[in-house]
Symmetry: C5
Subunit: 339 residues, 5 copies
């Protein structure tokens, strides 16, 4: 379920964003608390070893090691790399959202261009609409783990009413080593052409208008598929992850409070709890979590797209629009500004 908080930030108010810091669902805390605990435990363990177990000489050695780690921790350009990487991930994520296939444009056209209120007309419009929904369902099955869980086999697709048994037979019968999600669109084109031959679609202008819209729908589908198929190169993700993990590894040792009496620069205070390092952990690990959440928005994270909901909405709404609402019109009345 997408976490919507825009109504909470409609106006810029006094410390406007602080309210967002207190949310749990989809929040940085929910995403990070496990990693945070691990980090804190490790930090504490090392701290205890240093304070209680090590002998004097070992302590001296550890202190040098800590300073060495701290110096390099600052050289790791985590911010910069995360900035570029997250920008890339966020752009891809948004493009995927913008390319979610919605059948609305097609349903307006089908409702107004495919004529006939008799049963054959209704069947025609419903079937066309169903083919459209079927295609996006087939795509979503490849792309989204949530949808795949719901429709693990084509049987489930048939059962859910997206495909009839006849269609399934024809579909299975096609010999092709490649994905067949485009098949319902061929049916769509054939059916529309047939409808035109029967005069249900009036002329080529109406027909091509439908075909153009269908192709637009197909492009959305195939773009979603493309985003899933060709992700951000693994190397890039590994580079970023390595940078962040290395940074925190270096922090575990390098940000220990060293014995203030030894007079190391910047180590004249022992706070026991490394407040700023923990905040940095939240900060950088949170930024990386943004990427983890968005890199595949078709999972089951709090912030992922609700594809199963989309599938239901699209079928329900589009059948309603082309069947029940076909040619239904409220009585035209003069509006209140007439004259």
């Amino acid at each position: 379920m997408t976490v919507t908080y825009s109504s909470k930030v409609a106006n810029a108010t006094f410390f406007g964003f602080h309210r967002l810091l207190l949310k749990w669902r989809g929040s940085i805390y929910k995403l990070l608390y496990r990693e945070f605990i691990v980090f804190a435990v490790l930090y504490t363990a090392i701290s205890l070893v240093y304070r209680l177990l090590l002998t004097g000489a070992q302590k001296r050695y550890f202190e040098k090691l800590s300073i060495y780690c701290d110096r390099y921790a600052e050289q790791i350009p985590v911010t910069f790399v995360l900035g570029f990487y997250v920008t890339l991930v966020v752009n891809r994520w948004w493009n995927q959202f913008v390319n979610l296939p919605w059948p609305d444009r097609l349903m307006f056209l089908i409702s107004s261009s495919v004529h006939g209120s008799d049963q054959h007309g209704r069947l025609l419009r419903r079937t066309l609409m169903r083919y459209v929904n079927l295609t996006s369902l087939l795509i979503f099955r490849s792309v989204s783990t949530a949808v795949y869980k719901r429709f693990p086999t084509i049987d489930h697709v048939v059962e859910a009413g997206f495909m009839t048994a006849d269609e399934r037979k024809l579909f299975d019968h096609l010999k092709s080593p490649h994905l067949k999600y485009w098949v319902p669109f061929i049916w769509f084109g054939n059916l529309a052409t047939k409808a035109r031959n029967e005069g249900r679609i009036r002329d080529s202008v109406d027909l091509q208008s439908l075909m153009t819209e269908m192709n637009r729908y197909r492009s959305w589908c195939s773009l979603l598929f493309g985003y899933d198929w060709v992700g951000i190169p693994l190397v890039y993700t590994q580079v970023v992850t390595l940078a962040v993990y290395t940074f925190f590894f270096a922090c575990l040792i390098g940000r220990q409070f060293l014995d203030p009496t030894k007079g190391y620069a910047g180590h004249d205070l022992d706070l026991y709890i490394p407040v700023f390092t923990l905040l940095q952990f939240f900060f950088y690990a949170g930024w990386l979590k943004v990427a983890e959440q968005l890199i595949n928005p078709f999972g089951e994270d709090d912030d992922d797209f609700e594809t199963n909901w989309c599938i239901d909405r699209n079928l329900q709404v589009s059948l309603l629009a082309v069947d029940e609402m076909h040619m239904s019109l409220p009585k035209m009345k003069k509006d209140i500004y007439w004259d």
Copy 2:
């Protein structure tokens, strides 16, 4: 109300932008003065405690703490994170502006393609236009708090003349668990098809031209809805907010003027008022406020889009264009460059 200052910066002049620093509406001062007061009060309080209440040993401890905080304040990459985040927010904000639905393209087409100056023709054009305005109103109600306040129920929509009582009945009658803002567009398509059958719209070319334009309008509407529905992931906003707040928290302690006689590096001057820290506060908090203002541009901030004005303008202008101005033409006369 949008704050327009472009005429003030038409020419690059002597210290051209300094004039902008003296504006109040929509300015950084108006947005930040409360936070600024809180920050200043806290800073002063801590300063007074340090100077007056603490004992010698406590002072020494505080001084160490202050230096520790200062060191980490500089490590928090506020600038960088804000730069990437604000760029993202500004892009989204501008895309939302560009996708505000304006009925102008449709009204030109309706005025020129839906024929008949008799009452039925007028009714037809006005009704088509009204459906267009109704859809965007329904979207604006979901998206904008200002519009929602003005039209809290569908009753208000009917009263304002965007919907007739008949239409409302039909609208309410539709059984769907999903949002129904697309319904007027189905009516639009049906009505246009009817008009074509009656010969009021001459042929499929004219009709499809209308339908294409209507679909473009719908895409604007649904994109606005999408921007509202799927915001910038909460985690990202939290990360940025945390970074800025942490920075200022660290500054409250770390930027205190320490006793110059103790000879801490960089602390040989006691100015009482931390001019540059306060400027930094304005600077970073102001940058964050840019994001707060723009993250939802449909609120009631000084810089938010005037959606209620848009709604009124669109209805007034579009009815004027398709009714009163339909086929009205000034007498053609030779222009002054003729021959």
Copy 3:
């Protein structure tokens, strides 16, 4: 007048860009010399006060203040903020250029699709073309100070031949509290429809082609208007300006040459003229000037768009194209590569 220098940089040559450093029109020197003088005078004044007027203790205090200022000057992230801000401004500026309305696409269509070489045909084409030019003129009047100066009232528009007296009467007669720049497009649509009814435009395909092109022109117009109406949020501009001004204010004190005999770190040389600080001034203030120049490209800066020239060019060329050149064709002859 736009400053065009692309022919000067056609080839990458020995120190290729140095030639650009010697230009005056549109240059950094012309834009900045006043601010530079102010900065230099203030710097000199402070320098003289420090060297000549202050007593020993005051000098010591000033030296501490100077070091304090210098330290913070380096913390102000001017580069970064300017980088993001100027990128934003440059993108907006270029989009405005790309969306300048040119009537060329429309004039080709009108010339080839609106038939009849008799006086009525000529009048038809010229009038259609004039409506197009009139709309952009109305928009430019709102957007550009230069155009507004030239056409302060609608009377001037009529006098310049963009509008006839009849049209003006009709235009003024329309009751609307909103801007009316879209009115000529309604006339355009009505006139085109009339022409089609008269058979001057052959069919709906030609007509819709014209209407589509007209709507594209309208989108350019309204986008320009949008850029003017909804600028970069004032807060953002203020934040950037504050950052740059603060930086220079800090430099005025912090970059003074302190008495080398006192042995302050980095102050063992007294050059009297702070070469690098002055270069930094040119550098940062110049970058800000880029923004100042481009934030509203419709003013009268050296680098602003020549809107008045556009208006004249568009009217002259488009009337020429649809009238004198209508159906004019050079005799077809075999080209020299025939066979």
Copy 4:
């Protein structure tokens, strides 16, 4: 073969990305292990020379050199340059993916607009489709080394069935010093026009619809060609490579562990293995490898596009769609939500 890992990151989980660190195919380790070994060997060699071979004075000199190198290594802005460069490369790479030519849009149109189930009709559709596939194959041969290896001569293209012997003769017969990949599209246009004259394509609307789609396909092809022809300027790539190589060269000397007893700042610990430098190597060299992999996505890297697979898929699917599936339709039945 593209490395797809999106299903592994569908949900943001506990240390979500760490699993990615353990993959081999397409991973940073596979890409970098050779460079890493070279770097490690050189580092060790220098280390051994310093520790075992150098005399005391030589050691002192080396130590100074090492500190000098280290100081400059930190000044080389590798992160920043890599950030900008990789962003550029990634954008180009993705645009190339988005512009891969898929014949699906065309095959829907051909299947539904080119009529006739007789042999001539089948031949017509198959030939049209083949021309489309032939063009993209000709482009892929110029662009992709993998495809070129598979089809080193036009003979191979003929053998693989993309071209008939007759077509080849006509193709070879054309005198032109320029690339001829556009020739099949001329045939496509001619054949479509012929089909229209024969009534197999019903009217100009259907025909132009086909032509528009064909032109879109051509644009994809020519854009791919453009990306191959005009790469990122060599200078840019050299600048980035130089920066990274220089950095590692400086690290080889500058990151040696110097004798702790000499008391050089930051050199009071001898770990023998420079953990962080090696991590930095992985990090920066990995980032550069991202660019190396993506700068030409038509090679045979693990992450390159599978063009040969595309070619086969496109031919197989598109012939299937326009021939076997032409006008094939499942029997229309009421769906389960009927009434």
Copy 5:
């Protein structure tokens, strides 16, 4: 001539990019060797003066000056400014490439939509095609120095066969103070309309399809012109150039090796040759050269677009396509996958 190296980087291999470092054409060495020599000579001169000519006191003063320069050299944010600027330049350069006008889309349409294999038909198609090529030639003459050198007057255009003598007379005869590159497009429109009236173009759908494509071609032409006319603001280029030049000026003095015996921090080694400074020179100056090369891609640099080649290719190919190949079709045969 564009420098194409994509085939060299098809696969990411062992030190994949190092091969690119050894190229000469279009390389950083070819572009920079002159500047590099100047820089090296100046550095050496200053070094010799310091080592041999200066007296003790002068040396001390120079050493202070050098340290002062070095400190400020590091403050000049060359990397950042270059990063933003080069990104801007690269984007503009690529957009110009993408908008190079190619007549292929038009030639497919003309070949298939303008009928008649007789001499008049051939003349018609060739003339239409010639007008298209003529327009882009006129644009290229304004934009590209290389093309302007080849066609310094309209006479050369006529001689090269792009324009007939009659057309030239008509062209010159037109009275307009503005550029007349759009004139051939008016002729195109008129000729196409005439062809339609004669029945050579079948209907409005075909005609408008041609006109739309022509307008697309015109947009490419005018966009190229726009990029040439309105460049990156001079101030921006000056700011960047100033920053880079200042940096190198500061380096000339600040990066001298000072007498190690004086014990200045970071100056305990005299290498005579400032390896890293020279590498930095290559690095930053090379980055600036990227901008110099790309800011006007229509010159005669190694990496500039080959406009003269384009002009020849376009004319040759487009005449071939619409004349010799009009309605030429290979005999349709069953492909090898039939059944």
